[in-house]
């Protein structure tokens, strides 16, 4: 078993900056990531993209390159292509590389596993040809593959970013179907003064909308009753705007309703989590240094609070400073002094979130869809099933598993957990915080008997 001062899970912006900061502070670091190269999803393939692709992806994407290069430090070792399937409360981690299991133990652990796309359960969202908007971005970043005349549906700035990248690549989307309403806009206005502290983002947003408009890509806002149709694969998308029904033929639909913290590991560690009513998701409870209810476990980046790549970069540094103090590598005075400029930058960086979260708040019918809509993709459980379980006395997501297997497929609730929580909360007249979330247990990802057996070999070699 490998033993280090600090294990960091996830090599996105938070994990990369945490690793460098901790290494410079004298800690030995093991960074573990599922992908074959650093960057996380936001900077996916940052060290392998062609110049053409980097130009399409834009300067924000390029900011990941120095972070990845900074992993070259004698105190940092990195395990790529590693699937973490167990994390224990003492900071030990079990993971597999190429079917071989390994164990490592850190005196401190930073979970930097980022975000997942919030599910957008609409009729037909399980059809081949429907992907998350983030998936299309990954295809572009990692493989230079782009959809022809895609329909982008949902809400949030990522839709505009992808639309602009596709326009730049010469493959403009067919249209944008956006669910935010004028009501969202008026509610968001009160957060606009605060958001102006993050004025570069406002400017970027306006610039993206201008590029979409100039490219002649139509935007339909306030869209309701989205239905993706097709027999075997996507054939079209229908939606209603201002009382008029639109029915548009297409082969690819990219869905997006914002991103939510990936809490699989923090849930498996039984850490305290809180419901956030504005971002409509659970967060692990953390202090100013990202430390959770377990003092040897910290969370950094979007997994601790959705703020985007630059906020994750700053959060990773703060979590590393906190870890260095916990490891006895720096004192509180040095830690606090280094944190001052980081906190100021983080405050500016996250100033836009209340405005964005309110403007692009996913509509109720996307979070709690009609009875016949599949909400658990793995086990094909529909929303009406969950409401039926509630009538039979089901009060929580774990009971719902027993009633009908929702959350028990291979994705382990990643794409239905929040939907089940919100449907049960509504049906039982309880706040989501009282309803809670699935218990997540190891293995965090399906593991073969061969991998389990290889763990015994790993242990034997140590003896």
């Amino acid at each position: 078993m490998t033993e280090v001062d600090l294990i960091i899970l996830g090599a996105g912006p938070a994990g990369m900056t945490a690793a460098r900061t901790a290494a410079e502070g004298g800690a030995t670091v093991l960074l573990i990531d599922e992908q074959t190269s650093p960057g996380g999803q936001i900077y996916r393939s940052i060290q392998n993209v062609s110049d053409q692709r980097a130009a399409i992806l834009g300067p924000d994407y390029g900011q990941g390159r120095p972070l990845a290069e900074a992993l070259d430090h004698s105190n940092i070792s990195v395990d790529y292509a590693a699937t973490v399937w167990r994390v224990d409360e003492d900071g030990s981690v079990v993971y597999s590389i190429g079917g071989q299991a390994r164990q490592a133990k850190g005196r401190h652990l930073i979970v930097a596993t980022g975000a997942l796309e919030r599910p957008t359960p609409v009729p037909g969202w399980t059809l081949p040809g429907v992907m998350t908007a983030g998936a299309a971005q990954i295809l572009l970043k990692s493989s230079g593959i782009v959809p022809e005349r895609a329909v982008l549906a949902g809400a949030g700035p990522l839709l505009y970013l992808i639309a602009c990248q596709l326009i730049t690549a010469g493959f403009p989307p067919a249209l944008l179907v956006e669910t935010q309403t004028r009501g969202n806009f008026f509610k968001a206005l009160k957060y606009l003064p605060g958001a102006l502290r993050a004025w570069p983002y406002i400017n970027k947003g306006r610039e993206m909308l201008r590029q979409i408009s100039e490219a002649g890509v139509p935007r339909y806002t306030g869209a309701k009753d989205i239905v993706i149709a097709g027999d075997g694969c996507v054939a079209g998308i229908a939606f209603t705007v201002a009382g008029r029904r639109y029915d548009i033929a297409c082969e690819t639909v990219l869905l997006h309703s914002g991103v939510v913290p990936n809490t699989q590991i923090t849930r498996s560690l039984r850490l305290d989590h809180d419901w956030d009513d504005r971002q409509l998701c659970f967060y692990p409870r953390t202090d100013d240094w990202g430390v959770t209810s377990n003092p040897v476990v910290s969370v950094a980046g979007d997994g601790a609070g959705i703020g985007g790549a630059t906020a994750a970069n700053l959060g990773g540094k703060l979590a590393a400073l906190g870890a260095l103090k916990a490891l006895g590598k720096i004192d509180a005075t040095a830690r606090d002094a280094k944190a001052v400029p980081l906190r100021a930058a983080l405050s500016r960086e996250t100033a836009i979130r209340p405005f964005l979260d309110t403007l692009y708040r996913p509509a109720d019918d996307l979070r709690k869809p009609a009875d016949d809509v599949v909400i658990c993709r793995c086990e094909e459980v529909v929303a009406g099933d969950i409401r039926r379980y509630a009538k039979l006395g089901c009060t929580g997501p774990n009971q719902a598993k027993a009633f009908g297997r929702s959350g028990m497929g291979p994705c382990q609730g990643r794409y239905c957990g929040l939907t089940v929580t919100e449907i049960l909360a509504e049906a039982n007249g309880l706040p989501p915080s009282d309803v809670g979330y699935y218990h997540i247990r190891s293995p965090l990802k399906p593991v073969s008997l061969g991998e389990l057996a290889s763990l015994a070999d790993d242990n034997n070699h140590e003896e």
């Binding site: 599922e34 074959t36 999803q41 062609s50 053409q52 692709r53 399409i56 699937t83 997942l116 796309e117 399980t126 059809l127 081949p128 040809g129 429907v130 992907m131 998350t132 983030g134 998936a135 990954i138 295809l139 572009l140 990692s142 493989s143 230079g144 593959i145 782009v146 959809p147 022809e148 690549a169 493959f171 075997g232 694969c233 082969e251 690819t252 990936n262 993709r377 793995c378 086990e379 094909e380 497929g409 291979p410 994705c411 990643r414 794409y415 990802k445 399906p446 073969s448 008997l449």
Partner: protein, 95 residues
């Protein structure tokens, strides 16, 4: 349909999906290679037999599982190598 931005003639390896010969780049993401080759549906579900294709491309959703050498793997977490034989999964997704 999806298109490659890079020169399609740069495809340098071949692999098979349910016996059908397809071209890709050495080391490329298998789910991406299937999408680029025009394969839309990559499996059917164990519950209803409904068709599915890659959805999240980041190893989270398990909708892109395929069978390689008798093992069920996520196509989006697998690299293409020359001669790789990939089968559609039509039963359970667990081993």
């Amino acid at each position: 349909m999806f298109q490659r931005l890079d020169d399609p003639s740069a495809d340098d390896v071949s692999f098979t999906f349910d016996g059908q010969q397809l071209q890709a780049r050495q080391g490329e993401n298998l789910a991406a290679a299937l999408i680029a080759a025009g394969v839309v549906s990559t499996r059917s579900t164990p519950v209803s037999g409904a068709p599915r294709g890659p959805f999240c491309m980041m190893g989270a959703c398990y909708d892109c599982v395929v069978e390689i050498n008798g093992e069920t793997v996520q196509a989006c977490m697998t690299a293409v190598t020359d001669g790789l034989q990939v089968q559609r999964v039509t039963g359970g997704v667990d081993d």
